[in-house]
């Protein structure tokens, strides 16, 4: 196969670019621990409201100072609808659905997760800027999909 010099340069250049992309991706994965939410835990969607893991939704502060938020995404609301968390501390959201697929996206942050019935989604982040954030459902879930929204209030640390 005849390959011209310019073609060779281009091929090596492309390969290098791809390696650079992957390299930076692996560096942030293993160096900074940036991974997509990939929690593996199942739950019976018909029993979420009685399951001890989700029976009481809301915010709890754990002894080590980290914050845990338990929420339901359901047709067409988030429960609780308003979530208050402190700034500057790791917050772990645990979300599931009793009905169809939903999304859990906090606009203006890196929180974005699919919520599927039968599974528990878990995502951890730290909010640095106090203020009010919009939570939206970003996976189509029926006629009320566009009104499925909530509010996150990040309070300045005391």
């Amino acid at each position: 196969m005849k390959v011209y010099l310019y073609e060779k340069i281009w091929m090596w250049g492309s390969a290098l670019l791809i390696v650079a992309f992957l390299g930076s991706l692996l560096a942030t994965t293993f160096g900074l621990g940036i991974r997509p939410p990939s929690h593996v835990e199942t739950i019976d969607p018909k029993a979420v409201r009685t399951d001890p893991r989700f029976a009481a939704s809301g915010v709890t502060v754990r002894p080590d100072g980290s914050v845990r938020v338990v929420a339901l995404a359901q047709i067409w609301a988030f429960v609780p609808n308003e979530i208050r968390v402190p700034a500057g501390r790791p917050v772990t959201f645990r979300v599931t659905s009793p009905d169809v697929l939903h999304g859990f996206q906090i606009v203006g942050t890196n929180v974005n997760a699919m919520v599927a019935p039968g599974y528990v989604s878990q995502v951890t982040t730290t909010f640095h800027r106090p203020g009010e954030y919009l939570i939206v459902c970003n996976e189509y879930c029926g006629l009320g999909h566009h009104v499925m929204a909530g509010k996150l209030i990040v309070e300045a640390a005391p």
Binding site: M1, I18, F21, D99, V100, P117, E132, N138, A149
Partner: protein, 541 residues
């Protein structure tokens, strides 16, 4: 019109009808997202419309166009009649009946589940059965393509397939690998569930099977466009194909790599371990390589053409290219848009970056650049090239055919740039109205959704111009005594007379299957071993 042309033409007309209907829905959607209060605007109609638009463009327009184009290539590149015309017609009717059934159910409002139909949203069984028939029809097409190639190979032992056919065979193999996933999803999980025979479905398992199909689907659209870029564009530009052997390598790499990448659509999903998502990510970046090679070969071929036409200097050859030819303009603009779409795609595939854009309007911007332009605009250009050759008529309204690709380009720039921006600002995709009760974040989207709507109107005008030319040519185009022939670009260096490693489809298919078994077999096995709870169906539409 010669009888043999009826088969591809029948496919093309179904594709154009689907495209026309989908464009009409699309402007309405673009306006709805900008909160333009059209008459009869309701959420129910919006989601019905997005379902129809997605199905008609992503599944019907593309599949029918590719099947028709494939038959043209098999017959003209191999210079022999198709093997199994009867099967081809039967497949056409099966696919058409499936399409009509699914469309009817959607229009009746019984299947507003979007073209991704994720359970536990549950459509009327007619939707899933219609989709299955469309796929079964396309398998008939695969059978005819492969049989025709084998018959040709018996008479040309040892010779490599003409490049156009090589690319189409790669398309066929990618499609077969892809549709296994969706066939399992639809036939094993969804049809029995929608008929009430089974009670529940696991939504994450269903999503994994869908995206096993959903990503190679993208290459099923793209490879025929690449065939046009490699084998038709250089000749119409007045030049030669820069490298035939490298093009073969490109198509083979797509066979191997296009399926084991689907988890990059499920980065945000629970239930799938991060390690497997990373494995699919590495494959995803690897598959950028053949597209980079394509960029080089195609641009080099255009330079060859420009210089053969007397162009001089570093960039002087650009001006010598046939910018007045509708095929040329459409394809070159399609390729330009694809370069932009490739970059936003690399962001989507970024394992860590995906969280910023997943399910936002960014994604909608991205795929309108790729399938909605790189592929669709190439197909429109091909139509301007094919119709005179198949119908034996001159193109009617050629001025429209010249302006239409530019309108698409401009409209798409408005539309796609605006959607990328609103996506970064956090606006979700697939929403009827993004007002969110006046939330501050949502107010920031409004100027951009207006730009996107303006782009939608320009795109609609472009789509209608395209249809005007196509229908006008069929009805009123002047008959030609001797229509131009369907011929493919010659390579700069003669093609070697013997098949090489890169022509061994069987071998590469085995490798591809092994990769699929690793990339899907192992994680799905892990998923099936969890204590899983299925979901009953919901119809909140």
């Amino acid at each position: 019109m010669n009888r043999a042309q009826r088969l591809p033409l029948a496919h093309l007309w179904v594709a154009f009808a689907a495209f026309g209907l989908a464009s009409l829905m699309a402007v309405m959607q673009a306006m709805s997202r900008a909160e333009v209060q059209l008459p009869a605007r309701t959420a129910a109609i919006y989601y019905l419309s997005v379902t129809a638009h997605g199905v008609l463009t992503a599944l019907v327009f593309t599949t029918f166009f590719i099947m028709g184009f494939g038959y043209v290539i098999a017959r003209t590149a191999l210079r022999r009649p198709l093997v199994g015309e009867g099967v081809a017609w039967a497949s056409f009717w099966i696919a058409l009946i499936g399409t009509l059934l699914a469309t009817l159910v959607i229009v009746l409002g019984k299947a507003s589940v979007l073209y991704t139909f994720y359970p536990p949203l549950q459509a009327h069984p007619g939707f899933y059965i219609g989709a299955a028939l469309l796929v079964i029809g396309s398998w008939g097409w695969c059978w005819v393509m492969v049989r025709t190639y084998r018959a040709w190979r018996r008479d040309n032992s040892g010779a490599p397939a003409p490049l156009a056919m090589h690319g189409l065979l790669a398309t066929v193999i990618v499609w077969i690998l892809a549709t296994i996933g969706v066939a399992i999803e639809v036939v094993v999980l969804l049809i029995p569930w929608s008929l009430g025979i089974t009670k529940t479905v696991d939504p994450i398992l269903a999503r994994a099977l869908f995206w096993w199909f959903g990503h190679p689907l993208v290459y099923f659209w793209l490879l025929p466009a690449y065939v046009a870029w490699y084998t038709i564009l250089p000749r119409e530009a007045g030049g030669k194909l820069f490298s035939d052997p490298l093009a073969r390598v490109v198509f083979v790499l797509f066979i191997v790599l296009s399926t084991p990448v689907g988890f990059h659509h499920q980065f945000m999903d629970p239930g799938i371990p991060a390690g497997w998502k990373l494995f699919h990510t590495v494959n995803t970046f690897a598959i950028l390589f053949p597209s980079f090679l394509t960029a080089f070969t195609v641009i080099a071929s255009l330079e060859v053409a420009g210089r053969m036409r007397g162009g001089r200097g570093l960039f002087g050859w650009l001006g010598k290219l046939p910018w007045g030819e509708p095929l040329f303009t459409s394809v070159v603009l399609a390729m330009t848009i694809f370069a932009v779409g490739g970059f936003s795609g690399a962001v989507n595939a970024g394992y860590g970056m995906n969280a910023m854009v997943h399910n936002t309007a960014w994604v909608q911007g991205h795929f309108h650049l790729t399938v909605g332009s790189a592929v669709a605009l190439t197909f429109m250009g091909l139509t301007y090239w094919l119709l005179p050759r198949l119908l034996g008529r001159e193109l009617k309204f050629p001025a429209f055919a010249q302006v239409q690709p530019w309108l698409w380009f401009v409209g798409m720039m408005f539309f796609a740039v605006a959607n990328h921006v609103t996506g970064l600002l956090g606006m979700p995709r697939r929403v009827y109205d993004p007002a969110y009760f006046g939330a501050a974040a949502a107010r920031a989207w409004a100027p951009w959704t207006a730009v996107s709507a303006a782009g939608g109107v320009i795109l609609f005008v472009s789509a209608m111009s395209f249809l005007l030319v196509a229908v006008g040519t069929a009805l009123w185009g002047k008959r030609m005594a001797s229509p131009p022939e369907i011929a493919y670009a010659e390579p700069l260096e003669p093609v070697p007379p013997r098949r090489s490693l890169w022509d061994r489809f069987g071998l590469w298919t085995v490798l591809a299957v092994l990769l699929v078994l690793i990339a899907y077999g192992l994680p799905l096995f892990g998923l099936l071993r969890l204590e899983r709870f299925g979901s009953p169906g919901f119809k909140p539409f």
